[in-house]
Symmetry: C2
Subunit: 338 residues, 2 copies
């Protein structure tokens, strides 16, 4: 069992190590923190903490550094979420308010987050799985060429070019557009397939091929776009990692380039509340010496996507968590407004 003071010692170790990036010894600890006990006592506590696996020595005769398990305990029981200062909040709002479209919102968010946390930021585009259709538009560009435009309630627009098996007249197209919209507008993506299943049958024989093609493309687009996209930023902050560069930074950069890996990473985060994955808790090997702080965000109460940061395990957890949470809230607001 860990006494109150031992937890206090662990907290002090984490704080100091995060600040100095150097192993912290018993003497330094008693000097910088008012623990009210002597270095010798702290040494005993440290030995106990090491015994339990919360801290470790890089080598004999060096100070201690927290282990992943130590950080875990710190995050779970010792650290709060540090709220941002008022000027910071204002800065966030100002910065995000100027966004003109979804790309811009996501772009600004990622830069903002990278700047606030001084780490690598990852922002997922609002997911389409839970999105609804705002509008489907069909444009005739040539006799047998139709452009399909899909607009979602999160402001995302996707378009596809369709080569039709046969030319289709403007009236038929307008008819299709109207019927399509009356059926799917406001509906969730997942519901669309069954809603349009029998649509082709109600058209004249000559147009059926084209209608089917259009519907097929629509469904295809829905599926494809459910695969999520994301944006990352602040990779330059990786250089602040440590001094043992190439080995540390390389796998991280590689992981960050793999959208699949990142999506999985964010996907593993809880839908609500903040998720912190520390070091080896991350499934991906390249991220074994990093921590990921992620949180869902959304325009309403439901999270439509996630955002977060990737940084060294030795990070300022309270501050980072505060920044991530604050940014997620503001983005949610912005999204709700548009």
């Amino acid at each position: 069992m860990l006494s109150e003071r031992r937890l206090e010692v662990l907290r002090a170790i984490v704080q100091d190590y995060v600040g100095t990036e150097e192993p912290v010894g018993s003497k330094a600890l008693t000097e910088r923190h008012r623990l009210g006990v002597s270095p010798a006592t702290v040494r005993n506590d440290m030995a106990a903490l090491e015994e339990e696996g919360f801290i470790a020595q890089p080598h004999t005769s060096a100070g201690r550094i927290p282990t992943d398990k130590g950080y875990r305990l710190f995050v779970d029981r010792l650290a709060g979420v540090k709220p941002l200062s008022t000027p910071e909040r204002r800065a966030i709002q100002n910065f995000l308010d100027g966004a003109v479209d979804l790309d811009d919102v996501v772009g600004r968010t990622v830069r903002l987050l990278a700047q606030l946390t001084r780490q690598v930021a990852v922002v997922q585009y609002p997911s389409l799985t839970r999105s609804t259709v705002r509008h489907v538009e069909l444009l005739s560009l040539a006799p047998a060429r139709v452009m399909l435009v899909l607009i979602t309630d999160t402001g995302r627009v996707e378009q596809r070019m369709i080569d039709c098996p046969a030319p289709i007249g403007e009236t038929s197209l307008a008819d299709l557009r109207a019927r399509l919209n009356s059926r799917v507008v406001g509906r969730r993506f997942t519901d669309v397939p069954q809603l349009v299943a029998d649509l082709a049958e109600s058209f004249e024989q000559e147009d059926r091929g084209t209608v089917s093609t259009v519907l097929a493309t629509l469904l295809e687009t829905l599926v494809e776009e459910t695969e999520e996209r994301l944006m990352i930023g602040g990779t330059a902050n990786l250089t602040r990692f440590g001094h043992d560069f190439p080995l540390t930074i390389r796998p991280v950069l590689e992981a960050l380039e793999e959208q699949v890996v990142l999506l999985k990473l964010l996907g593993e985060a809880k839908d609500s509340g903040m998720t912190v994955r520390i070091g080896h808790e991350n499934a991906h090997e390249g991220l074994n010496s990093t921590s990921v702080v992620a949180v869902g965000y959304g325009s309403g109460d439901e999270a439509v996507a996630k955002l977060g940061v990737v940084g060294p395990t030795r990070m300022d957890y309270p501050g980072t968590m505060g920044a991530v949470r604050a940014v997620a809230r503001y983005v949610g607001q912005i999204l709700a407004e548009s």
Copy 2:
């Protein structure tokens, strides 16, 4: 004046240095290349080349490495563009052919380029300055809420939400849509403003405010979207840079995060033909130890945007140039097809 042999020596130095990443000495040179002269002679040539500023010694008693000026000479007079192998070409085509939309084309291109050159790839989205309007769509989402969708001939789609000063009826909106399209479809962005200048006047008094707002938003979108976007990839390749990491890689990552810097970088490249900027030839300080190989690409004969790679000055120029050129060509083809 540089004799034929001295140029040959320079070429050998560049090739060896690019291969080994280590300063190359006179003896090693004569062993690896059939220069037909003794090391002593090569030493004299090296002294001359150093005198002229084409090569330099990192320190006394070390071999020589090419200077920026040396690379410049190499690129201008000694190196050709190495065409890709047939399997490579086939791989490019296969990889790019699967793209479904513009984002996908650009995304695949950037990954492809990064993989082929093993360097950082930068791809600019097709510029809208020279683009034409394919279609403008107006959708009524609520009585006083209109969505504007702009579709370009390069397949790009932009949308804006518009809050109208007054509600507008479906018929008026359809009217506006029709007139707008008849005027601007097929026209260049730059011509649009004067084409729609008097459009508001032909509408009923009650709708004029809304029409003006819509037109203003359209023009605004055109201007905003002329600001180019781009995508980068392969940053993990930066870790292959050298062993003196943080100092080298940091400013590069920072520069790469600044879209403005990159756009300027590509903007400085010639419209046609390939541009190679070596080391200090790059205006941006952070890129002083990198070279940029860029080329324009487009669906027709005109270049609509640029793409390229950023790598250490010590790069395989012929190979890189070959890959960049080949990729640009294929992307041009893909764009022309869609």
